[in-house]
Symmetry: C2
Subunit: 316 residues, 2 copies
C-alpha cells in the first residue's frame, strides 16, 4: 500500500508546473512549495508534470531541480521525480560503478520488482547508458558474485501461483544437501534461487524449514562476513518477504553512526508508492519505534521533511 497522500482536489499539471516555476524563481528557492507538490503526486502525475514542464518552459524539470537543490534533499527529490524504471536504472548503474559499487542494490532491484518492471529497468538502462545492464554487472563483478547477480538481474520469473509440491520437496533436498556440504555456490543452488517463481520458491523453502529444522537463511550464516553469503540471504529475503528486507535496510541505515542517507532515500523513493505501509509495520515490529519518529530523529531540514511526507507522516 502506498504511503503518499494525493490531494482530493488535484491541481492540473499546468498549475503544478506554474507553482514549481515560481518556487525556482526569485531570491532563493521555495523548498516547501516543491515538497508540497512533488511529494503528493503519484508516478503517473509526476510524469505528466515533467512533460508539461518541458512543453511549457522548454526545460527538463529534473535539470531545474538539480540546479536549484543540493545534497541529500536534491538526491531524494530527483530520485522521487524520476520514472520508477528510470530511477532503478540510475541506481543500479551507480551500484555497478567502482566508487559507488553496491551489490546489495542489484539484488534488491532484481528480487523485489515485478518481472515486467525489471524488464523495463533493463530497457531504461539501455536508453540512458547505451549498454545493457547485464553487460555492466558482469563486467564489474566476478566469481560467485557474478554467478549469482547476472541470472538475478536478467530473470523474468513466472508470476503465476501454480506450485509443484514434488518439485518443492526435491529442490528443498538439493538445497539442503549443498548447504550441508558448504557448497553455497553450487550451480543447482543458483539455478533454483534465480529461476523459480516466487510462489514455487516459497513452497520449496517451507519444505526446507519443515524437513530440515532450520530456516534456510539461518543455515546460510556460515561465515557472517562473506559477501556472497550475505547476497544469497538478501536474495532469499527479498524474494520471499520484501517488506521485512526493506525494514531491515531502513533499520541499518538509521542506526548507523552517521545515517546511510543513500539507503534511506533509495528505500523511501522506491517503495513509497508500493508497499511503504507494510514496511512501516515491519519496521515497528522489529524496532518498537515508528519509522516516522526514527526518521524525524535522524534527519533534518527539507530533506527530513520530504522523507516524512513520502512515508505519509508529514507531522511526525
Amino acid at each position: 500500500m502506498s504511503s503518499i497522500k494525493v490531494p482530493d482536489h488535484l491541481p492540473s499539471p499546468a498549475e503544478d508546473c506554474e507553482q514549481l516555476r515560481k518556487a525556482f524563481q526569485g531570491w532563493g528557492t521555495n523548498e516547501d512549495l516543491i515538497i508540497s507538490i512533488l511529494a503528493h503526486r503519484n508516478a503517473a502525475q509526476r510524469s505528466l508534470i515533467r512533460n508539461n514542464y518541458a512543453e511549457t518552459y522548454g526545460e527538463d524539470l529534473l535539470k531545474e531541480l538539480e540546479k536549484e537543490l543540493s545534497s541529500d534533499f536534491e538526491r531524494i527529490v530527483l530520485l522521487w521525480t524520476l520514472e520508477p524504471a528510470d530511477r532503478d536504472a540510475f541506481m543500479v548503474n551507480e551500484a555497478t560503478k567502482r566508487l559507488t559499487s553496491n551489490n546489495l542494490v542489484l539484488v534488491e532491484v532484481a528480487c523485489t520488482r515485478k518481472s515486467i518492471e525489471l524488464f523495463k529497468v533493463r530497457q531504461a538502462y539501455q536508453v540512458r547508458f547505451k549498454r545493457s545492464l547485464e553487460e555492466d554487472v558482469a563486467y564489474h563483478t566476478s566469481g560467485d558474485i557474478r554467478k549469482l547477480l547476472v541470472p538475478l538481474i536478467t530473470s523474468l520469473r513466472y508470476e503465476g501461483d501454480e506450485v509443484s509440491k514434488t518439485l518443492a520437496k526435491s529442490e528443498a533436498k538439493i538445497l539442503h544437501e549443498k548447504i550441508a556440504d558448504k557448497e553455497f555456490n553450487h550451480d543447482e543452488v543458483i539455478r533454483i534461487l534465480t529461476t523459480r517463481s516466487k510462489a514455487q520458491l516459497l513452497a520449496t523453502l517451507n519444505h526446507y524449514n519443515n524437513d530440515y529444522g532450520n530456516a534456510i537463511n539461518k543455515d546460510l550464516k556460515d561465515d557472517p562476513n562473506d559477501e556472497y553469503l550475505k547476497l544469497l540471504r538478501t536474495t532469499i529475503k527479498s524474494l520471499t518477504f520484501p517488506e521485512r528486507h526493506f525494514a531491515k535496510i531502513l533499520r541499518l541505515a538509521i542506526n548507523k553512526l552517521g545515517t546511510d542517507e543513500w539507503a534511506l532515500a533509495r528505500v523511501v523513493a522506491s517503495r513509497a508508492e508500493i508497499d511503504m505501509e507494510r514496511i512501516k509495520e515491519e519496521y515497528y515490529r522489529r524496532n518498537s519505534v515508528p519509522l516516522d519518529r526514527a526518521i524525524a530523529k535522524d534527519t533534518s531540514g527539507d530533506y527530513g521533511k520530504m522523507l516524512l511526507e513520502l512515508i505519509g507522516h508529514g507531522d511526525a
Copy 2:
C-alpha cells in the same frame, strides 16, 4: 528480406476465413486452397485471420488445421500460422524436453532474434507453459552447457551501434588467452559472448582475427565432437552472420540421409518473413544449387509445396 508473396489484391480476413472453412469441409481437405491462402499472408494478416476465424466460427483455426492435416505438412502449416513469438516459445519448449532436446535451437533463437523479440518469446513461453523459459532451460541442462545457455536466452543485448575499440582490443586478448589455454568454459569467455552487443562483439572478433591470425571459430574446433564447443561456435556464427548459420542448418538438414524435416520447417517458418532472401544467397554460395531446387528434390506433396511457396519459389 521476406520471401513470401502477398497478393496485390488482398482478400479481407473474413473472405480468407470463409475459404479456409470451405477447405476443411466436405469430402477430404483442400490442401491447395489452404496453402494458397496461408503461405501468402504475413504475420499481421495471419493474426487477423485467426481472430476472425475464432469470432466467426467459434473455433481456433490452429485446432482446425491440426484436425485436418497430418505429419510434416501439418507441422509446417501450424508453425507458420503461429504468432512468431509463440512459435519460438513452442519450439524452444520442445528443445528443452528430453525426447526432443535440442540445445542448438535454444542458441539459434537466443542469438538471431532481436532483443525485444526474445523478450516476447519469454513472455509467450510463460503464457503457454506456466513456467519461465530460463527455469526450464536451467532445469534440463547442467555444467558448461547451462552456463552458456541461461545467459544467452535471458539476454537483452544493447542494439545500438556504438563500439569501443579499446574494449574490443582488450576483450579479444582475453578471448585469445583463454582459448589458447583451452579454457573454453572460462567465465570471461561466457561473459563476453553472452552480454556484449552484436556490434561490439563483431569489433572484438575482428580484432581477434587481425591480432591472432585465425577466425575465432577456427580456434574453437579443438574437439569437433564436443557439444559445448559446437554450441559456442553456433553462438558466434548466429550472432555475427545469421544468414550463413541458417544456410548451414538448411544444408545439413537437406543433405542428411532422410531429410531433417524439423530443422527445415523451423528455418523456413521462422525466417521466411525475415531474411530468407539473404539465406538463399548464402545457400547458393556454399552449395552451387539454389535452395528451391534442393528442397524440391528432397521433399514432396503438400509439404514440399508449402515450403517452396514460403521461400518464394512456387514453381521450382
